[in-house]
Symmetry: C2
């Protein structure tokens, strides 16, 4: 697939519509074979879900619609450059391609600054602003051993 | 609040139970005022949701239960060091503290390797494995202008 302007316009329209529907100014669409599979808006405050950014909302809807956890063969058009949470989700969902409108600098200019998260990700757990400590590794590893020995697991 | 071993044991128990329930070997609990508010497992394959890692599942449940998008005052205990998606979600949810059992190296050893995402996050969009292109910024910025001028918005 190659870039199609009409889908970027749809993502932008979703970002504007989402403001009217008490959400944040972000929208995204997921496209497969030239068709929109899912549209998402930022529903963090509307749905009390801090993970409901536009891209993640669209990924969840697309997976539900296609009955899969793997969106290979799909592309995402987002009205804004994804934050680290959404960018990571785009990798986990195996999307083929990303198009975005506003930059993260544009987002920071209106109060949505994710640069601190990028900075935090690069630090060691003990050096992060949210205190992080490892505990009980010898017990936690048991789940991994069970998984490793399981013969009928669904890998992804 | 200070670390309480019983909650880490609950997160580990959730990771083992989750395998028995056709999920991945990860579990997390969110605690407030000495009580478990929510428990989550990795439901990626079970629910066809690539964003349904244990931490995100627990965050969504806790927010639903407490009727908020802000988990300040809560702590998360995870059976494994969070991936970049979940770690970012922990920041967006404003959790106070993180305890984890297995390391990301342990996770990589059983086939759950997120190091490529950390590597990708540090690259410029154009250099990433998932091709990323900026388009129509002049149109996309309109949503941000509308947001900026909106007087009754819920900021977060």
């Amino acid at each position: 697939m190659s870039y199609n302007e009409k889908f970027m316009k749809k993502a932008i329209a979703a970002s504007i519509k989402n403001i009217e529907q008490d959400g944040g100014p972000f929208g995204a669409v997921i496209v497969k074979d030239g068709k929109v599979i899912a549209t998402g808006g930022n529903r963090v405050t509307a749905n009390n879900d801090p993970t409901a950014h536009a891209e993640i909302s669209a990924i969840r809807k697309a997976c539900k619609k296609l009955n899969t956890f793997d969106l290979s063969g799909c592309e995402i058009y987002s009205s804004c450059e994804p934050c680290p949470m959404c960018l990571s989700a785009i990798y986990w969902a195996h999307l083929d391609r990303l198009y975005y409108g506003n930059t993260k600098k544009d987002a920071a200019n209106i109060g949505f600054d994710d640069s601190f998260i990028y900075d935090e990700l690069d630090l060691k757990p003990a050096d992060r602003k949210i205190p992080s400590m490892q505990k009980l590794r010898d017990e936690a590893i048991k789940a991994f051993q069970i998984w490793d020995e399981k013969t009928d697991k669904i890998e992804y």
